[in-house]
């Protein structure tokens, strides 16, 4: 077989793979957005906010966790529904990142994944002095 043809073929396969990767990359991107943008975005996005104390409840009929996030700066709030297994130490999260899509009909943000930030989870909080 002619080697040159093989190299060209190999190069084409690589190019096709690069193209495929790039398109998958842009499709799978979940940008960080504001609540307002999340409501109008027709795609997977991620939002962050503080968990409203006492707002989370497990609704057995829907087998889902419902809670409210509050944007720390704008004080905007957003109802979030999450169907996965509740992350450990969810209740004392200082901030929750939810990845998912806004459900126009239910007026809720449907989260597929939650990232929970807790005080001193992996890295101890910086404490220099205390009484």
């Amino acid at each position: 077989m002619n080697k040159k043809i093989l190299y060209v073929l190999g190069g084409l396969v690589l190019l096709a793979f690069v193209g495929f990767s790039l398109s998958s990359f842009t499709k799978a991107m979940t940008p960080y957005v504001s609540y307002e943008q999340a409501r109008s975005a027709n795609r997977m996005v991620q939002i962050a906010g503080a968990l409203e104390k006492g707002s989370s409840s497990y609704v057995r009929e829907q087998e889902a966790l419902l809670f409210t996030l509050k944007e720390p700066k704008t004080r905007e709030i957003l109802r979030v529904r999450y169907k996965g297994v509740k992350p450990a130490n969810f209740e004392d999260a200082i901030s929750v990142v939810a990845i998912g899509q806004y459900d126009e009909a239910a007026k809720e943000f449907q989260a597929n994944k939650l990232l929970v930030k807790c005080p001193s989870k992996y890295q101890g909080a910086e404490v220099r002095t205390y009484s």
Binding site: S24, Y32, M44, Y58, R60, V85, A88, E91, L115, R128
Partner: protein
């Protein structure tokens, strides 16, 4: 001097000595390189003193942890009075500073071995190796683990409960052996370029590369296993940046191993191997930068925060990118290498194709993990979800499986297609049989059927080779084949357990059997904490045909942090795992905590807390100010059977003796309600209801994971193959060194 007074001197001094001796050792080795052969004794001594200082510093830190000396900030942050003994070691590497420390310790110990194994190249190899250790030392001197607090607290903050697990005690240190080992092939390669001595380094670096590959692989396996067994989300790999940070160097290391093999057998990859050695080490540093600098803080479940070393890590990364880049650009064109003269259908060509494929996987995963940085300059920083990695790696997995299936039956000389096909008959027949079987069983997607066929072909053809080697009594040469059997098995396991898992969420009422497919689940009881076990929930699982087992998922509150911890129950069967993860437990204790205006339900009862009544028996505020007995009323609205009625429950307290009296208020529809507590600061009230039926309820996620054992089993086989290969390469270096071939 104020800086000094904030440091625990025995430990800090040891670190400074280590820094001094490391610089001395580098200076000594540089003298040797400039022609002063006698300086080697000085350099070696300096290295030994450096090693002693590092070990001393580590010993001091362990001692401080064991003594629970909370003056030390690090001990305060990661330890506590109630932390059991063996977790004190986990506390050692729980934080940033300690994990850099353990990394340095391993690096130092490996260096002792490297010093002896480097042969004539010792001065240059050790010089570069010490540079990598110096980078870690600078971090530790800057962010000193021996920093002291201005006051001594009585107790520490305790260790993150997630890390209080036996797997977590051993997983991180093993990971750091792998990280430390990645610097060795790097040092060999850079030293070879520096000296312009392009032969011999590959053979000497080969066993170290295999060793690093093995250790890092073991660490990744352990991490995945820990996630699966304890976190309860049902998977072993989430494509989280911290996970990827260890996978990327492992993949580069895999490519490097194959490159070194090609160099040894064919004299090819003689240039690429320098690049691969550099990529492997730099990817470790890059992963460290990604996960420790805080750039991904909003994108990773591991939520590392920036503690002020981001700039330093960037600098370190820059040094270790620019240095190899300079050496590669200036020297690489002069490295003699064999031209590719292999025919297409030969082992050489297919090995090249496999290395390119694995390289592509590493690069794509690196690009995905870097997404938040790459998109930073666009309008909103983004990350890519797991679906990106799964999608992109599917064709890679297919190609890898295909290549792995063919390679065993290709020779270096090359062969006619008909010959290759003839040799493949047995394996292909077996693969076809398994594919048909899986099609009958469950697999319908044509792409997945191709996947099954290729992966089984990889298993079968490599297994055939292993058996042949074994029969010929040369199992030592079967390491590569065995590892590839394992890769095929892992691919099958990944496909089966992730594409064909079935997950159902269900709420179980205590004592009431609930049918779920072919199983019946009964939540039988709640088991309180004992000395050896945390709080558990017992579920009887009846799988039909009289086979029953008891599952014990755990749900407990960490005493210190009040975090709710969840552990799944994993029941391993031959063909699948039954994975039961608790989601929510409602003990059925009719207790409500309500803020003003809020409504709660308990046992078919709806209770709304309207307001406090401070005028029930005199003015409560005035009584309180006078130090006299106080009565507070809670105005409630109770809805029972569709009828809402007001109820007033009382809470009496005598400030003189602290005695509390809570007369129960009768509910119109039966049952009684008691105010069992009042939270003055939040204005909430705690209510205990009695006389209403309210069984305990447990919500669980039940998942069937078919053939997941193949993932673990396959990884073991890969590692076993790696061990065989490593033994062979170590022997080879010894023999070649003894006949003077490597000098």
């Amino acid at each position: 001097m104020t800086y000094l007074s904030h440091l625990y001197l025995p430990g800090a001094l040891a670190l400074w000595c280590a820094l001094l001796f490391a610089i001395a050792a580098i200076w000594g080795y540089s003298l040797v390189l400039r022609g002063d052969a006698s300086a080697v004794i000085f350099a070696r001594r300096a290295y030994n003193f450096f090693a002693l200082s590092v070990l001393l510093a580590a010993a001091v830190l362990i001692l401080l942890l064991l003594m629970r000396d909370f003056r030390i900030e690090y001990v305060y942050q990661y330890s506590g009075m109630d932390l059991p003994g063996h977790y004190q070691f986990a506390a050692f590497w729980a934080g940033q500073k300690g994990s850099f420390m353990i990394w340095l310790v391993w690096g130092t110990l490996l260096g002792v071995g490297l010093k002896r194994a480097a042969g004539k190249a010792e001065p240059s190899v050790m010089g570069f190796y010490l540079l990598t250790l110096l980078g870690l030392l600078f971090i530790l001197v800057r962010e000193n683990p021996f920093t002291m607090l201005t006051q001594t607290p009585l107790d520490g903050q305790g260790l993150n409960p997630l890390l209080q697990d036996d797997w977590m005690v051993i997983h991180p240190p093993i990971m750091f052996i792998g990280y430390a080992a990645s610097a060795i092939p790097f040092a060999f390669a850079m030293a070879a370029l520096w000296r312009r001595d392009y032969d011999g380094w590959a053979a000497r670096a080969f066993p170290w590369a295999l060793g690093g590959f093995l250790v890092l692989g073991t660490a990744i396996l352990m991490g995945g296993y820990w996630a699966y067994k304890t976190l309860g989300w049902g998977g072993y790999w989430g494509w989280d940046p911290v996970e990827n940070a260890s996978l990327i160097p492992w993949l580069f290391g895999t490519v490097m191993i194959h490159g070194l093999h090609m160099e040894r057998t064919r004299g090819r990859y003689r240039r690429a191997n320098y690049v691969l050695a550099a990529l492997t080490y730099v990817s470790v540093l890059y992963g460290t930068f990604l996960t420790r600098s805080g750039v991904l803080a909003d994108f990773s479940v591991h939520s590392f925060v920036d503690f002020g070393i981001a700039g330093y890590l960037i600098g370190l990364l820059a040094v270790f990118i620019l240095l190899p880049a300079y050496l590669l650009i200036s020297r690489l064109p002069k490295v003699p290498t064999n031209r590719n003269e292999d025919p297409f259908l030969s082992r050489g060509t297919f090995l090249v194709l496999s290395t390119i494929t694995v390289l592509a996987a590493a690069l794509v995963i690196a690009a995905g993990t870097s997404a938040p940085i790459l998109t930073r300059f666009m309008k909103s920083p983004s990350q890519v979800g797991p679906e990106f990695y799964n999608r992109v790696n599917l064709p890679i997995a297919l190609l890898v499986a295909f290549l792995l299936g063919l390679v065993p039956f290709l020779t270096w000389r090359g062969e006619a297609l008909t010959e290759v096909l003839k040799k493949l008959r047995l394996s292909a027949g077996l693969a076809l049989a398994v594919t048909v079987l899986s099609a009958v069983a469950a697999v319908r997607d044509p792409l997945y059927l191709v996947f099954v066929f290729l992966a089984t072909l990889a298993v079968a053809s490599n297994l055939e080779k292993v058996v042949r080697k074994w029969r010929a009594h040369s199992l030592s040469g079967a390491g590569g084949y065995l590892a590839h059997v394992g890769v095929g098995v892992i691919l099958l396991g990944i496909l089966a357990s992730s594409a064909y898992d079935q997950s159902t969420k269900v709420t179980l009422e205590q004592g009431v059997p609930r049918k779920l497919g072919d199983m019946t689940l009964t939540f039988t009881r709640y088991l309180a904490r004992t000395a050896s076990e945390k709080e558990r929930l017992e579920i009887r699982v009846d799988r039909g045909h009289g086979s029953t087992y008891l599952a014990y998922p755990k749900m407990f509150m960490n005493d210190r942090t009040r975090q709710l911890m969840v552990n799944p129950d994993v029941h391993s069967l031959a063909l699948k795992d039954l994975y039961i993860s608790p989601i929510e437990y409602d003990p059925g204790q009719p207790r409500l905590e309500l803020a003003k205006g809020k409504t709660g339900t308990v046992g078919g009862l709806e209770v709304r807390f309207v307001k406090f009544d401070l005028q029930v028996e005199g003015n409560a505020m005035a009584q309180m100010a006078a130090g006299k007995p106080v009565t507070i009323g809670a105005d409630l609205e109770v809805t029972q059977g569709g009828i809402t009625r007001p109820v007033k429950a009382l809470y009496r307290m005598n400030p003189a003796d602290g005695r509390v009296e809570t007369p129960p208020a009768a509910l119109p529809g039966g049952g009684r309600i008691v105010v069992s507590g009042i939270n003055a600061s939040s204005g909430a009230v705690r209510l205990d209801v009695s006389g209403v039926s309210n069984p305990a309820r447990l919500s669980v996620d039940v998942t069937k994971k078919p053939l997941i054992n193949l993932v673990w089993g396959g990884l073991y086989v890969v590692l076993l193959g790696g061990i065989l290969a490593a033994i062979k390469r170590v022997r080879e270096v010894r023999i070649r060194a003894s006949i003077g071939e490597l000098e």
